[in-house]
Symmetry: C2
DNA sequence: CTATGTGCAAAGTGTTTGCAAATTT
DNA sequence: AAATTTGCAAACACTTTGCACATAG
């Protein structure tokens, strides 16, 4: 397991993986990140990309997003929500200011650390082309 | 692909799969459903269970829930939210009356069909045992 | 009778792991 | 020098598919 507390050493590969995830708002898959990283480090392996994505998610530098059965990554650290288009399967960021966080009171004993809110529907461009 | 509009015929297997998903609030995995169905139909195959879960989800009789990278199923058709425990990975239903749905105004053009809200944190029993 | 559904085994997809060599501190 | 990280290939877990036979309408 990698989810331990070992001390980390830097590596070109890990830094590049983080750069790539930060370079986009497209919520990339591991495979997309792999191909992007390969453009600059032609020998990286997919395994290394996976290891580093997991490490970065674990240390909180990026977030994992589940969409349509696939794990995707997101380096947007601001609180925001996702709009998932049922037509094109795209994920769009909705910035928090347009959404009032919900009031909630859960049954006794549930300690809430995060609320994740996702909107499902049809995005503007799919809307237009129908 | 199974996501077409063919006319469906009934089958014992499909009915049993639906019964099993309806019989629990535990958000079962396909594999759990498979083992339950096997108790009454010892010859069903895992493929049949998958096919029928997909068919039922497609026709809206059950919902898919993604949790911790795994696809799970839920036959609770009432609006409700999920609490996902970061310690035990359990999924708990939070019934809607304790949560006031959020106000939101999305950018022009986004047509919202559903809002999914998930709470992440520590569940009461993990809380107690720490 | 015809189309749909099933069981099985094989293939597919996305992700993780074991290991020796390379790299970082 | 000691520990971590890498690339590779093999293993993995979960899901889907091809096909011949069975079943529903």
């Amino acid at each position: 397991m990698l989810s331990d507390t070992r001390q980390r050493k830097r590596s070109k590969q890990r830094e590049k993986v983080l750069d790539v995830v930060r370079s986009t708002k497209s919520h990339p898959t591991a495979d997309w990140v792999f191909h992007e990283v390969r453009k600059e480090l032609p020998n990286v392996s997919l395994a290394t990309v996976y290891r580093n994505l997991n490490l970065l998610a674990e240390s909180g530098k990026i977030n994992e997003v589940l969409c349509d059965g696939q794990l995707r990554f997101d380096a947007n650290r601001d609180e925001h929500f996702h709009f998932i288009c049922r037509s094109c399967k795209g994920i769009f960021d909705i910035d928090e200011t347009r959404v009032t966080s919900p009031d909630f009171k859960l049954p006794r004993g549930y300690v809430v650390q995060d609320v994740r809110m996702d909107f499902y529907g049809i995005c503007p461009s799919c809307q237009a082309s129908q």
